[in-house]
């Protein structure tokens, strides 16, 4: 194997509690994170994202399984012997040290010469644009500035992997957007592998090279944002990322048959058909091959308009159409329409 991976977790289990009350925060998770990628762990609260990061950082020991960093087994190494650094959600800046001393902390602990510590600290502060605050105590900084100090401090020793546990969740929306761009820039400039935790799906889609979707201690799917969005493997992934429609479906010769009797083309396996609202086309009610539906409600969102449709068997379907310049999408409540799916848009998934 010439190309080693940044992180590898093999059949990792983490149980909290003993005996009957034991709870598996991670249930047999195997994951591979490549060198230099921006990898995001995405999932609802309590699904085990923080636990996985803490296992990688060495703050917790796995109940079973192995963890490799840069190809080397680290399962038994304490945190201070692992070439990874963490940006904590609460920042955890040292209140008794200045901004510069916080940033230089790791290099000082590693026993690097004073000149090197000073040089790297200055470079890191420049990287996060905080040169002017080097001498301040951290309590005198704004939330965004503390965030940057935490980033600079974790990047200073140039770790093999940077772990970020919801680093942006404490920031307001505007600052958050700025920091998203900033994080991407830092990752490109340093070339360090980032493992980023969030429960914000938009953040995950816009920032990541690859996403790992987690639920209830299990890794559901790993893939690029496009793969995750367009080819979700199960109902959880499809509904957690973006909006989607689910229809019961049965494979038949030449496609799948929906409850209303229509037969459509769909890839994949399973008994549920999923299709994104923006992949629907509304056509005339009598168009051949179209599924008959009635418009129940219209919601105007500015850039587009959402239509709540009802099929003949009572199933609901949401369609999203781009709003024309006049703003009037040209549909009325109670109107009969035909629905078609864009080629390749409909997929069968497992539950």
């Amino acid at each position: 194997m010439s190309q080693t991976n940044a992180i590898e977790a093999r059949h990792t289990i983490k149980a909290f509690g003993q005996g009957d009350s034991a709870h598996r925060a991670l249930d047999d998770v195997s994951i591979t994170i490549r060198k230099g990628e921006f990898f995001t762990l995405l999932g609802p609260s309590g699904c085990g994202k923080t636990t996985l990061l803490r296992l990688i950082a060495g703050f917790e020991m796995p109940t079973a399984g192995d963890i490799l960093i840069d190809g080397a087994e680290v399962t038994d190494l304490p945190p201070n012997k692992r070439p990874v650094n963490t940006v904590f959600q609460s920042y955890a800046l040292f209140p008794h040290l200045t901004v510069a001393e916080n940033v230089g902390f790791a290099l000082k602990m590693l026993g690097r010469p004073k000149a090197e510590v000073a040089e790297v600290t200055a470079r890191m502060l420049a990287l996060v644009k905080l040169e002017h605050l080097a001498g301040r105590k951290t309590a005198q900084l704004s939330g965004g500035q503390q965030q940057r100090v935490a980033l600079a401090r974790a990047l200073a020793p140039h770790p093999k992997v940077l772990l970020l546990d919801e680093p942006l969740s404490a920031l307001d929306l505007k600052l958050r957007k700025e920091m998203q761009v900033e994080l991407k820039r830092l990752q490109m400039e340093t070339g360090i592998t980032f493992v980023f935790v969030t429960h914000d799906q938009e953040e995950a889609l816009t920032m990541s090279d690859r996403i790992g979707v987690m639920s209830a201690g299990k890794l559901q799917q790993v893939g690029s944002p496009r793969e995750i969005y367009t080819r979700p493997v199960n109902r959880f992934v499809a509904s957690f990322i973006g909006e989607t429609n689910f229809l019961p479906a049965k494979p038949v010769a030449g496609g799948v048959k929906l409850g209303c009797g229509a037969v459509v083309e769909a890839e994949g396996e399973g008994h549920t058909l999923t299709v994104r609202p923006e992949q629907l086309r509304l056509v005339a009610a009598n168009e051949p091959g179209a599924i008959a539906a009635t418009v129940e409600n219209l919601v105007y969102f500015g850039t587009d308009t959402h239509l709540n449709l009802r099929l003949s068997d009572g199933e609901a379907l949401v369609a999203r159409v781009q709003s024309p310049p006049t703003g009037d999408a040209g549909f009325a409540m109670g109107q009969a329409v035909g629905v078609t799916f864009l080629p390749g848009a409909a997929r069968l998934i497992r539950d």
């Binding site: 703050f59 963490t86 040292f94 902390f105 790791a106 602990m109």
Partner: protein, 266 residues
Amino acid sequence: MAKRFDIARLPGFAPIALLSFVALYLPIFTLVGYSFNAGNSVAVWSGFSLHWYSAAWANETVKAATLRSLSIATLASAIATVIATMAAIGTTRRRAFKGQTLIYVAINQPLMVPEIVTAVALMIFFGMLKQVTGYQGLGYLILAHAAFCIPFAYLPIRARLEGMDLSLETAAADLYASPWQTFRHVTLPLLGPGIAAGAMLAFVISLDDVVITEFVKSGGQDTLPTYMLGQMRRAITPEVNAISTLLLGLTVALLTAFFLLTRKRG
């Protein structure tokens, strides 16, 4: 919802509180006042003078006792603070272990057992040691003081440790600090005010002790409080008042510092 019970709103609270303060502080103010008495009575006022302060200062026995008190308090509080710091870390930074309650009780034993019992026990035990070793020095008093000062040093240090954000120590470990470096560069500096507060409290407690000292000391090892006690048995002069006032001043200064150190920073 009904108003919460508030003792300060009960009828008669203010007069009772006032009476308590008077009962507490009036004797102290009287004591301080008569330390400036020109005459040699602690009851009849005959004019202002610093005579008794200079008398105390000129008294070689008082000087020796003061020096002894201060050295015992310094060494005993230092020993107590080191042990209390280690105990506090042991009881807050480790997983709960079997027998933890027992250790907690052992540390705080001097707060619960009547002082006279500890005093007699120490007297008998040290008496045996004095026989066996032949050593008669101040070491016994220092050890005895250190022992009963430990809980006073322990409590503020433990409180500070419990209030500390654990993620700071986690962050230090993440940033390549070994357990010792984490302690040295993160835990200890953040614990500083707690340790200083504990040391001061221990110092004051040691300075003030009569009962245990009286039982454990060998001949010629009077501390300031036991010297004063001895004086009271003979003629009482305002010299005792003057010494008490100075001790009071030192204690108030240390306790003020203690308060400032343990106060949450705004």
